[in-house]
Amino acid sequence: MKISGKEIEHIATLARLYLQEEEKDLFGSQLSSILDYMDKLNELDTGDIEPTSHVLTLNNVMRADFLVDSIARQEALMNAPSRTEKFYRVPKIIE
């Protein structure tokens, strides 16, 4: 299946990526061949087969609701590219 340039741009935007023109061409053809390969799965009739999202049988894990130590705010902020006192700083989002 050939993926159009427009489709590549759309996916890139969903993924929050800018692609250079040559990246668009390269990814376009590579994605097409990878997706063609994935179409192999359609050889199998999987009509009533349950999907596996997780290999082990998992149940909800419950615990008592009590307070435990967590990472201190200043420590949690240590890796922030930009911060002011207690907060992460980001570009203005409200006009």
Partner: protein
Amino acid sequence: MTKIFTNQGGFLELYSLTISDIRELLKRKEISVIDVVNAVYRRIDAVEDRIKAFITITKEKSLEMAESAQKNINNDNAYLCGVPLAIKDNICTKGILTTCGSKILYNFIPPYESTVTSRLTENGYVLIGKTNLDEFAMGSSTENSGFHTTKNPWDLERIPGGSSGGSAAAVAADECIAALGSDTGGSIRQPAALSGVVGFKTTYGRVSRYGLIAFASSLDQIGPITKNVRDSAILLNVISGHDELDSTSAPLTVSDYTRVLGQDIKGMKIGVPGEYFIEGMDKEVEKAVRDALKKLESLGAIPVEISLPHTGYAVATYYVLATSEASSNLARYDGVRYGLRIEGKDLMEMYMNTRSQGFGAEVKRRIMIGTYALSSGYYEAYYRKAQQVRTLIKKDFEDAFKEVDVILTPTSPTATFKIGEKTAEPLQMYISDIFTISVNLAGVPAISIPCGFTSNNLPIGLQLIGSHFDEESILKVAYAYEQSTEWHKRKPIL
């Protein structure tokens, strides 16, 4: 004192020893922790320029940890007291740079410790450094690392395998005593095979993923890369078991894995799946693996031909599921809370600039595939379909394990390949994981151990797969094989 005389009259450098050797010598007070650590650093000084196994070397931290280990040396419960280990750089170590092989985390210093390294610390290990990997563990060669490519100690023009190529090369080159890696589609076993060491991926849920930087959460597992099977069992003893910080970790008790080592394998059934001995696989690899089967037969094991009929669909299934999970997991790298930020005129532009400049080509490619597979209109055709095929692949293994105790296959269809040989065509690189991927999809445990060398003196790996939570059968068979062969004793000449 830095050299140990053997009863054959030769001597061994301390850095070439195993965990169990080192523990024995430390307990007998024949050496001190600092001797071991110094020996490892001498080795690193001598070979690391050529191997490039590490992203960060933590010498100051090593000396600090060595000092505290020495004080604790008589504590019999500290399995790793004074043992220098290397950790893959996608496992968070508090206060120590953890990059995941990506420029987007070039400066990330975790404010918390992963569960596995917490357990190593409780057991007195000495951290040597953080090892190189394909960016976000996406790759089979370390060529996708955001920093550099690691070289295979057996041939410096070849790749060490990946994504845990730094850990495998560091162990093979004796730059540490053992290491931890992580395995999503073969990333422990394939580099172990290609670098001539032992790599173990446990049952999904056996080892906590807390503090492992997520790639594909339903497939990722942390595991040991070691010089022999016993060391693998020792490290599993330390890192396995339930962790309340990981809701996918299995609430099961763990036995002492070293107990099964040396047990008789007579009468054990070894499954040989026809689908894993395919047209076009390397003849030398096939011969080495078939010889290994004969060896096990001579030890009393019984070969049984089996079929894993959906094997041919594993790579396609994996690349739908792993890329989908990755596209979701990697959404968090947006320049707000940690790592790289490239400013833009507004928030959206900042996100896009940061991600476009921070991620390498392979990571972008996988995010794109995953985003496509999960996007509106395609979810049923790709993601749900792949989850259904995953059920079939898992069932193949469940059926097989009704008849056999372990399954024997090659770890990789070829020995190590040349740097640059497979980078142009991503699909070719993906297909090199063909023998390891099904194991992650089914969630079963598997080991890779050395089983021979090609005529070019390149290592070949044997994969032994077990049923869910039956790590013991794998260790038992792997140990019996290892003890009756000499492959694991060969070292690359550096």
